[in-house]
Each structure stands twice: as structure tokens, then as C-alpha cells.
Amino acid sequence: MQVFVEAIITAFALLFEGSRELWNVIVVTFRVAILSTIAGFVLGVPMGFVMGASRFRGRRLLIALTNTGMAVPPVVIGLVVMMTLSRRGPLGFLGLLYSVDAMAIAQTLISSPIIAGLTAAAVASVPYKLRLQARSLGASKTEEALLSIKEARLGVLAAVATGFGAVVRGVGAVMMVGGNIEGQTRVLTTAIVQESRRGDFGLALALGIILMLITFTMNGFLTWYQHSNERFERG
């Protein structure tokens, strides 16, 4: 029990101490997570909307593929991205391997299927009658689509939060394509792996607590937003 208490104390001490190294790690963690969540949003929400709201040939297959994409192990995605960005790979000329950009690319491949799949589920749950009604009132296709997204916004928000959660806690892919370079591509999760391997479990756990604090804060905002919306809807 003592070790856990010590880890919590270490976590806060590290945060307040504000060591440059730790803040660097936190900043890189955020940069990767935010870049890949935005990219995942841009790719995933339209795709999820199409899958959730329209009926077309191959829709089920697309949904099945998206759900599979949600389950692909991050190390496999990391491996594919690494081989692609390798000097001997097809995009090697870009010189992106072992950079924050490479990490964001890999994490986008992780976040977009999650955001697409959950958006599809949220949009599909918007009552069909509501859309029929809008159409009967003369709404254009675009207006109907915007209405569906607006109705499903809390679900879409949850999708984006889940995507952010997946990239902020991911380790396999970022370790492979980022390389855990101190001061450059080291993020909280790869630092945790490193400290555990070194046997500094206390520090590793403290970093884990910091990671949890970040996720907790993000989810806190989300819950607060959802509740304020619900209150608004109840009037």
C-alpha cells in the first residue's frame, strides 16, 4: 500500500516541481493526442455520418471494416506506419520517421475508426421520424444531415472523447514510430514503459497517475457539457 501512496505523492511533486523534462513529455503527449484527435474527427465524423444515416450497397461491410479497425492492435498499426515511413519504405523520402508527425499519423489511424464507428452509432440512433418530418417540412439533404448531426452531437462528442482517450493512452504505435526520444518524441506512455523496464516502478506509476489526471480532466469537461445540455433540453 505504501508504494501507491508514495506514487501519488511523487506524481504531484513532479507536477509542482515542474521539471522541464516532465513538461516536455506532457506537451508532446498533448500535441500528438490533439493532432490525431482533430485528424480523426475530420476523417471519422463524415465517414461515421455516411455509415449511420444513409443506406447504400456495402454499408454493412464498411461498418464491419470500421469495427475491425477499432480492434487492430496499435503495434500492428505502428509497424505498418513504420515500414511505410522507413527510409526503405514508400514514403521514406519524407523523412518523417521518429517525429511527432509520424506519431500523429499512426494515432490518427487508431482514432479515426473509433470516431467513425461511434459517430455512426450515434447518428443511427437519431429517430428516423424526425428526419422524415424535417424532409416533409422542406429541408434539403444538407439541412437534414446537419439536423441529424446536431441531434446526435452528444454521441459524436463521446466518440471524439473516446478517440482522444485511445490516443492518449496508446503506447505500442508511438513507441515504434516515435522512438521515445528524450525531449522530442517521448510521451507519458512510452516514459512509463521505460521507467518500468528500469525498475523505477514508483516513477512509472506517478507518470500513470498524471496520465489519468489528464484523461479525468478531459472527461470532466465532457460530462459537464453533456449535463448542461441535458438541463437545457429539459428546459
Binding site: S86, G179, I181, E182, R197
Partner: protein
């Protein structure tokens, strides 16, 4: 039984194999603990086989050396069976202190000598050494090729600001690298030296990254040779005595199987074993991984 399983619709019967497999795996271990003679060897004089626990390091185990020398020892001494426990050097010494191992084969000379001085081990004897090499790209912008002075090479890398990738993981290899920087009077800090990358990863990952980044690094020769095919890295500096990594054998004081431990230690420094060590790796890599140096 197998036909039945194959034809049976009740595929779950295969599950029954699981406990059977577990039992099959466990039984020999149990038998070994009881130190019974090998039953399916109806030799006229049945010898009692006793276990000798050899604590060594993961890197030694990973090199495959034990697969070569342990069977040879057991052939010469059928009354002993070597059980290798592969852990970190520090942990191997710790196991020795607790007398949970009978004999040690590790590579941390100072710690080994201290171990013996403190009375935990009977004597430390040289067995062999492997070495570290400084690697870099064929292009070699720092012009290190052909050198045999590791410290001078590192000084050149630092002065020219050539990218150097460090394991940065507190491993034996990382400590070795740091001692060389110290000898060069340089204290590389990722925060201030942008050419020095510390990645906190294992040797394999470090070599991959070095190859991809056309950078320089220091590696043990064995890991480099085993990965050489996939890397665009060449040995630039080798042969410096400061790059040598000596291995010693120590019999643990009052070991459980003192006789077995002593027999193994005497055998591994014998000309027969030394010759085996000197040949190990030649078939696979075209050069030996270890240089025998017992007296």
C-alpha cells in the same frame, strides 16, 4: 485417441488435452526436483542426476551460447544437469548471495570481485569476453572508419555534432557508453546537445533507429551481428580494450550443489570448453561472438 478427436463432433474434448499438456510439462520438472535418475535410460550403472543452477544474464542466454556449451558439459558430466536462470547481472549476483544459484556466469567485473571479496563466492575466474563496437552509416560523415580508439571516436562525434543514439535505459551497455563519454570528458545531455538522442529502449530498437536515422551508436557485437542483415550499419571502431566486456565464472560459497558447480566452473575454463566458446557463432555469423580468455 487422435483419430477419435479428429472425427468427433465434440471438439471441446480437445480441451481435455490442456490439463494433460500442463501435466506433461510439469511432471519432468517435479521429477527433476526429486533428483531421480532418468528412467528411460537403462544404463547398467544408473547415475543420480543432480541439478546445478547456473545464474547468468539474459544477453548471454539470448546469444544462444548455452545451447552449445551446456549439452557438451552434460555429456562430459552425465551426473549433473545445468539449469540456466537468465536474469539481469545485478539480479544474478543477488540470487548468488541468497544461495539460490550454485554457479554464476556474469559480466560485471567490479561487482563480481566485490561478490567474492564479501565471501559470497569462492573465486572469480576469467572465461571469455565479448566486445562492443561503434557503428554508423556506410557514408560515415564523421570519418571514424578503421579506428580503434573508442574515446577519440566519441570526441569526434561530439565535436562534429553527428547524431548519436544512446540506449538511455540504465542497461550494462548504456553504462558502458556513459563510461566512455566520461573518459572523453564529455557529458552528453539531450536537453543541451541536440545531436545526442536518448531513447530508453533495448539494443535492437536502438540499432533499428540508428540505421533509419543514419546516425552513430554503440552496440554489443552479438546483437549487431544477429541483426546485421536488416541494418544499414557498419562497424567503424573496434578493438579498443575499453570496449571489452569480460565474463567471469564464480562458484557460490556453500552452494547447494557445490560439487556440480565446481565441476562446471573447472570445465568451462578447460581447453575443451574454451575451444567450443571460440567457435560459437562462426557458423551463423562468420565470426565468433565470444573470445575465450581463461588462463
Amino acid at each position: 485417441m487422435l483419430e477419435h478427436l479428429a472425427s468427433s463432433v465434440l471438439r471441446w474434448r480437445a480441451l481435455l488435452l490442456v490439463p494433460a499438456l500442463v501435466a506433461a510439462l510439469l511432471l519432468p520438472a517435479c521429477a527433476a526436483e526429486e533428483e531421480v535418475a532418468v528412467p528411460d535410460d537403462p544404463a547398467p550403472e544408473e547415475v543420480e542426476v543432480t541439478s546445478v543452477i547456473l545464474a547468468s544474464t539474459t544477453s548471454t542466454e539470448d546469444s544462444g551460447l548455452f545451447g552449445e556449451i551446456v549439452p557438451a558439459f552434460q555429456e562430459a558430466y552425465p551426473q549433473y544437469r545445468i539449469d540456466v536462470v537468465a536474469v539481469g547481472t545485478g539480479q544474478a549476483l543477488e540470487i548468488g548471495r541468497a544461495k539460490d544459484a550454485d554457479v554464476l556466469l556474469v559480466h560485471a567485473r567490479e561487482a563480481e570481485e566485490e561478490f567474492v571479496a564479501d565471501g559470497y563466492g569462492i573465486e572469480r575466474r576469467d572465461v571469455m569476453y565479448n566486445d562492443f563496437v561503434i557503428l554508423g552509416p556506410e557514408a560515415d560523415s564523421a570519418s571514424l572508419a578503421g579506428g580503434d580508439d573508442a574515446v577519440a571516436a566519441l570526441t569526434t562525434i561530439a565535436d562534429g555534432g553527428h547524431t548519436f543514439i544512446s540506449r538511455g535505459d540504465d542497461s550494462g551497455t548504456h553504462k558502458k557508453e556513459l563510461s566512455l563519454w566520461e573518459a572523453a570528458g564529455i557529458e552528453p545531455e539531450p536537453a543541451t546537445h541536440d545531436w545526442y538522442l536518448s531513447i530508453g529502449q533495448g539494443m535492437g530498437d536502438t540499432l533499428t533507429m540508428t540505421s533509419e536515422s543514419e546516425a552513430y551508436t554503440m552496440s554489443d557485437r552479438g546483437t549487431y551481428l544477429s541483426m546485421r542483415e536488416g541494418l544499414e550499419l557498419v562497424v567503424l571502431v573496434e578493438g579498443d580494450e575499453r570496449l571489452f566486456n569480460p565474463y567471469g565464472v564464480i562458484v557460490v560459497t556453500d552452494a547447494n550443489n557445490l560439487e556440480g558447480a565446481q565441476a562446471f566452473a573447472d570445465w568451462i575454463v578447460s581447453p575443451t570448453a574454451q575451444a567450443l566458446i571460440g567457435e560459437f557463432g562462426v557458423d551463423t555469423y562468420g565470426e565468433p561472438l565470444f573470445v575465450p580468455n581463461a588462463e
